[in-house]
Chain length 317, copies 2
Amino acid sequence: MKTTEFAMKRLQSACAEKGPLCIGLDTDPSYIPEQVLGGYKSPAEAVLAYNRALIEATAPYASCYKVQIAYYEAMGIDGLKSYSETLKAVRATGIPVIADIKRGDIADTAKAYARAHFDGDFEADIITINPYMGFDTLEPFLEYVESAGKGAFVLLRTSNPGMKDIEWLQVSDSEDRVLHSVGNALSQISKRYGNYSSCGPFGAVVGCTEEQDARTLRDRYPDLFFLIPGYGAQGGAARIAATLLDHAGGTVNSSRGILLAWKKDPECIEAAGNKALSLEMMVRAARDGAKSARDELVNAKKELDKSSVPQTGIENV
Amino acid sequence: MKTTEFAMKRLQSACAEKGPLCIGLDTDPSYIPEQVLGGYKSPAEAVLAYNRALIEATAPYASCYKVQIAYYEAMGIDGLKSYSETLKAVRATGIPVIADIKRGDIADTAKAYARAHFDGDFEADIITINPYMGFDTLEPFLEYVESAGKGAFVLLRTSNPGMKDIEWLQVSDSEDRVLHSVGNALSQISKRYGNYSSCGPFGAVVGCTEEQDARTLRDRYPDLFFLIPGYGAQGGAARIAATLLDHAGGTVNSSRGILLAWKKDPECIEAAGNKALSLEMMVRAARDGAKSARDELVNAKKELDKSSVPQTGIENV
């Protein structure tokens, strides 16, 4: 029992200390050019080597890492070995790691997923959950909150166009959307955990694409810690992400913006043209990309805080 | 391109020929008693041995097999090796195999899941999908429908109590529930595939717990082929399952009822008491359990058809 070390609380503290950047290790082998891939026994090994070097280089700028399991599953058994080793590499640094698995199932099957991703080869600190089948699907994960301080982000409002199909449907006799049912359930669960001073063990995934939505959701669920995808390569602006960082705060994911930073780096571009690109050069570009993203987010939050200071200025005297 | 061999159509034909039983290989190692487990190098190997023997013995009674990946993920890398080999063992028989993965994600991530489960180490014929994020999450899977005849069952109405939390919410200005949005989208997708004579490449997961719901959903979506969990150990009656088998039909899953049939078999119980239970005996009980379940379902459908014959009897003259 490590009840004083809840992963979600650790993550919240890391964001306060190092900035809100979550580095997404959605490392598809296609992100690594042939001239570098060729130096490894398999694409899965190249991905692992890139991840390991990237974790070491970007640790000062990362509040956490998020590993998207789909890219590893797509490489089969070898891919899942790299997935397992990537989780271990992050956990060795003491930085929280989020397994972006979006699982969701019932009863014994949900228990099996909890065992799978909170213990053993695929142990992560925090996972993502899909709530479609209902809130009884969340219960089996709470056992690991209580015994091992684990946490989960539940899908609330995603940033894809299809979010209108289910999440955004208006519920009868109410101003609410389907996604509010999820938010309300998560708030209820959080209230059970009084030992959290500022955020509960279950947070919410809220994408950053529309500013007014972002503000409304942030104010409606002040106690929920957010995982915020859609910043950077997916087009979400830092200003919108900053809106979602109010109240309990959140962590803002950037994956391709960092993994593919080498494609915008003049030195890497030249080297790639000469078939002389190395993993070290890619990692240097990723590190610079991570630092820039972290700084952009921190500054956007500062600007937002400044602009929302009351005109009287009394609070700042 | 094997456009004439759509997996969903093959499954529909198999149901017509052999009965609608889908055997669920949710093979948790706890289902195998210590005295049998002890004969294998690891729980994952024991699970694989049980699955292989069970597939061979039950093939005459199975329209398809459904493998629940959660139980294999819970065993880590070794478990996923057994998962991969289990899929291969089913595919070698020519019987369709459903990967019960309930994945759901967007854009490149959904493409990665499609690659993961329609190709390579984890290739299945049909998968299950969670639609919460919206219907753009379904598109990447259609590429494999077209190139390789693959299929998918999308979660529509599950049989857990929590189904009321999201699936069953009533949508504003409508008589519809959230789950009808899913059903309508699946019907639309099916219409794109005119070369299906009787069912489209995307079916729906509809649990068998409430008879009136079952009838209403079955009549509303006559062209959707159903994957029907909740029969047997989960408490759903064969009669309700039979209701869901009308129109385009469906396949009815039983997992624990078959995997754990040995626990109700007098010979196995006695052998277990004497620490003399063998895998062969467990498989024999599972085979008998599968035959009984298949017969019960076929008879329930016959009874239902008989009771719904119009009183004039003209159609049967």
